[in-house]
C-alpha cells in the first residue's frame, strides 16, 4: 500500500488535534477540589515530670492529596516541634503512624529532627488513610492529633505543567504551520551553513583521491537525539556518496546504531538507483567501550587514510583524540555535536563544525525539501519567542528593582512562573 505523504500528515494532524481536544475536555472535568483536611485542634502539652526531657508535639499536621499524580501519593506537612532546634535539639526525631481504613495504626517511617513534610508513596486510591506523628526525646514521647481520613486522588492533567504545554504547543504549531506553508509552494529563505555546503565537495574529494569516507555517529546509543540527528544526516551524505560512487565505512559503538545505519545507507543507495553497490560491510560494530572504540577508530584512520571524516553526534572526551588523528592523516573533517564542552575541540581540529542547533537542522537543510526547510522557519519562531521574553523580562525586572514599580514586579514574577515549569 502506498500512502500519499500529505494524507499521512493530515491523519497525524487530525489525531493530534483530537488529543488536544480530549485534553481540554479533561481539564474542565477535573475541576480542582482541594482535599486538604486540617486538624482542628492540636493536643495539649503534657504535664512536666522530673527527669524527663519534655518535648512539644508537632502542630498543624495536614494530610492532603499530592497534586498531579495518578492517585498514588499523599502529602503530609506539619510545623516541627518547638523543641526541635538546630543546635542542642531535645527532639531526637519523629515517628509517623498510619492507619488504613480505620484499622490499627502502624509505624510508617522514622524521621530525623528538622523534618516538616513527608510523601507517602505507598497508598492506594480505594483506601482511606489517617496519620499522626510522635515526637520523641531521650525518654519522652508525645503524640500529635490524628488527621481526618483521606484517600489519594487521581488527576488527569498535570496543571503544574500547563505553561510548558502551551509554549511547547505554540512552537510545535509554528513548526507544523511553516511545514504546511512550504508544502503549498511558499518560498522560504534559509541562510547558508558553511559546514553543510562543504559536504558535496568533501565527498567529491574522496572520490577523486580514491580514498574512503569515514562516518562516526558519536558514541551514544539510539536513545540520544544526537545519534538520531547523525543518522538523518547520514541519509543525505550516503546519497551523495552513492551518486559519486565513493566508498563509505562506518565503525559504530552500539549494535542498535549499526542496525539503523545499515537501514539508512541501504535506503540511500536504493534511492540513488545503485542497490547493487550497497553492502552490509559498510557498517561494523566495534565495541560498546568508549575508549576501546576510540582505539579501534584511531587505528582504522591511520591504516585506511580516509579523505573525508564526519564526526557527528554525541561525543565526550574522545572528541579531540578522534579529530586530531583525523587531522594527522590529512582528512577534511566535518564535525558537529550538541555537547558544548566538546565543541571547542572540534573547532580547533576540524575544518567545519556544526554548532548545537545546526546539527539538528542539518538534515532538513541538506534535503532541500521545502517541507523540511519549513520546520527550520518554525524553529526561528521559537527563538523569536525566547528573545522577546528575555528582553521583556530583563526590562521588567530592571525597572522593578531600579524604581520599585509594582506592576513590573508582577510582570517579572509572572514570567518567572511561566518559565519555571518542570
Amino acid at each position: 500500500m502506498r500512502v500519499g505523504k500529505s494524507t499521512f500528515l493530515h491523519l497525524c494532524l487530525a489525531f493530534s488535534l483530537s488529543l488536544i481536544l480530549i485534553l481540554i475536555l479533561l481539564t474542565l472535568v477535573s475541576a480542582q477540589e482541594v482535599d486538604s483536611l486540617r486538624s482542628s485542634t492540636d493536643s495539649a502539652y503534657t504535664i512536666p515530670d522530673s527527669g524527663l526531657v519534655l518535648v512539644a508535639p508537632v502542630t498543624s499536621l495536614i494530610a492532603e492529596d499530592y497534586k498531579y499524580d495518578d492517585g498514588e501519593q499523599l502529602k503530609l506537612s506539619w510545623v516541627p516541634s518547638i523543641d526541635d532546634q538546630l543546635v542542642d535539639s531535645k527532639v531526637l526525631g519523629y515517628r509517623l503512624f498510619r492507619s488504613i481504613d480505620g484499622g490499627t495504626p502502624e509505624i510508617l517511617a522514622k524521621l530525623p529532627p528538622g523534618t516538616n513534610s513527608f510523601l507517602d508513596r505507598t497508598v492506594q486510591r480505594e483506601r482511606k488513610y489517617q496519620y499522626y506523628l510522635e515526637t520523641f526525646s531521650e525518654n519522652f514521647v508525645v503524640q500529635s492529633i490524628v488527621t481526618a481520613a483521606i484517600s489519594p486522588e487521581r488527576e488527569w492533567l498535570n496543571l503544574d505543567r500547563g505553561w510548558l504545554f502551551i509554549i511547547a504547543l505554540f512552537i510545535s504549531i509554528a513548526i507544523i504551520f511553516f511545514v504546511e506553508k512550504a508544502k503549498r509552494g511558499h518560498k522560504l529563505y534559509v541562510r547558508k551553513i558553511a559546514g553543510l555546503e562543504a559536504i558535496d565537495e568533501a565527498v567529491g574529494r574522496a572520490t577523486e583521491m580514491g580514498r574512503p569516507v569515514l562516518f562516526i555517529p558519536g558514541i551514544n546509543d539510539m536513545d540520544d537525539v544526537q545519534t538520531l540527528a547523525a543518522l538523518t544526516i547520514l541519509g543525505r551524505v550516503s546519497r551523495t556518496i552513492a551518486d559519486y560512487d565513493s566508498q563509505i565505512f562506518m565503525p559504530v559503538s552500539r549494535s542498535l546504531v549499526m542496525t539503523a545505519a545499515r537501514e539508512t545507507i541501504k535506503t540511500s543507495y536504493m534511492a540513488a538507483g545503485r542497490p547493487d553497490a550497497y553492502s552490509d560491510d559498510m557498517v561494523n560494530y566495534v565495541t560498546d567501550e568508549q575508549f576501546g572504540y576510540v582505539a579501534a577508530v584511531d587505528g582504522l584512520m591511520v591504516r585506511e587514510r580516509p579523505a573525508t571524516v564526519f564526526l557527528l553526534g554525541a561525543f565526550f572526551a574522545e572528541s579531540l583524540i578522534l579529530a586530531e588523528t583525523g587531522n594527522s592523516v590529512g582528512a577534511i573533517q566535518i564535525a558537529g555535536t550538541a555537547r558544548p564542552a566538546q565543541l571547542p575541540f572540534f573547532i580547533a581540529a576540524c575544518d567545519f563544525t556544526l554548532i548545537g542547533e545546526e546539527l539538528f537542522a542539518a538534515s532538513a537543510y541538506l534535503s532541500g525539501e521545502p517541507r523540511q526547510l519549513g520546520s527550520l522557519k518554525g524553529q526561528d519562531v521559537g527563538k523569536g519567542l525566547a528573545m522577546s521574553v528575555i528582553i521583556l523580562g530583563v526590562l521588567a525586572v530592571t525597572i522593578a528593582t531600579a524604581w520599585d514599580v509594582e506592576i513590573m514586579h508582577n510582570v517579572h514574577n509572572w514570567l518567572l512562573g511561566v518559565f519555571s515549569s518542570n
Binding site: 541562510r191 542498535l256 567501550e289 576501546g292 582505539a295 537543510y365 524553529q379 528593582t401 515549569s421
Partner: protein
C-alpha cells in the same frame, strides 16, 4: 601474581602510548585485546543487568515464603516487559532475509521513543529554564551588585540575545541583524576558548596519573 598484573598493565599502557609515534604492531595488539575483551565485557554487563536483572526478574520474580508457609511471588510479575522482549526478537528478524523488514518495527519504536521523550525534556530544561535564568536585573539602586557583576549581567543578556540571532536560519545575516549575529558568534567563540582552557587542566592530570603508575608503581624509580 602481582608481578604479572603490573607487567600486563605496563605492557598495555606503553603499547597505547606507542601509537603517538606511529601505528605499529604493539599498538595493534593492544587494540585487538581492548576491542575483544571490552566488547565481551559490555555484553556480559548488559546481559546480567537488563535481560536477567530487569526482564527475567521482572516477569518471574523470585519466590518467597509467606506467613502461611506458601511459596508466593515476592513482587507482582510485570508481564508488560514481554512486549520489550517481543520487540527485541523482532529485531533479530533481520537475520532472515525474506522478513528482514520486520526489524524496522522495533527501530521505529525506538525512534518514536527517543523523539517523544526528548522533545519535552530538552524543551523544558534547555529552553524554558535557560530563558528563565537569563531574566535578571541589569542595574538598580536597591540592588547590591558590584560594577563587575553589573557588567557581567549585561554581557550575559546581550551575549545570549545575539547568540540566538546567530542561530537564526530564516533571515539573512545582513545590516544590523548581521552585526548582531557577529557579536553573537564572538560570544560563542569566547565560550569555546574558555571551555578549552578550562579542560586542559584536567586532561593533564590523567597523563600524570599514568606516568606515576609507570615510574612509581611499576619501576619504582620515584616514590
Amino acid at each position: 601474581m602481582e608481578h604479572v598484573a603490573l607487567w600486563v598493565a605496563a605492557f598495555l599502557t606503553l603499547g597505547i602510548i606507542s601509537f603517538l609515534y606511529k601505528d605499529n604492531p604493539w599498538y595493534k595488539l593492544c587494540e585487538a585485546i581492548f576491542v575483544g575483551i571490552s566488547a565481551g565485557y559490555w555484553f556480559i554487563v548488559l546481559f546480567w543487568d537488563n535481560i536477567v536483572g530487569k526482564f527475567w526478574v521482572g516477569v518471574f520474580p523470585p519466590k518467597e515464603l509467606n506467613d502461611v508457609g506458601e511459596l508466593v511471588n515476592s513482587v507482582e510479575p510485570d508481564y508488560w516487559l514481554i512486549v520489550g522482549a517481543v520487540l527485541g526478537v523482532l529485531m533479530l528478524m533481520r537475520l532472515i532475509p525474506n522478513i528482514g523488514w520486520i526489524s524496522r518495527w522495533p527501530l521505529a519504536f525506538i525512534i518514536g521513543c527517543t523523539s517523544g521523550l526528548y522533545l519535552i525534556n530538552y524543551f523544558s530544561s534547555n529552553m524554558m529554564r535557560q530563558v528563565q535564568g537569563t531574566i535578571m536585573p541589569l542595574l538598580g539602586m536597591n540592588y547590591e551588585l558590584s560594577t563587575y557583576d553589573i557588567i557581567g549581567n549585561i554581557i550575559i543578556v546581550i551575549g545570549t540575545f545575539t547568540g540566538l540571532i546567530y542561530f537564526y536560519f530564516s533571515k539573512e545575516h545582513k545590516g544590523w541583524f548581521g552585526r548582531a549575529a557577529k557579536v553573537g558568534i564572538w560570544t560563542i567563540m569566547i565560550t569555546f576558548g574558555a571551555s578549552f582552557g578550562y579542560t586542559v587542566m584536567s586532561r593533564m592530570s590523567l597523563l600524570i596519573g599514568r606516568v606515576d603508575f609507570l615510574f612509581g608503581d611499576w619501576l619504582g624509580l620515584i616514590n
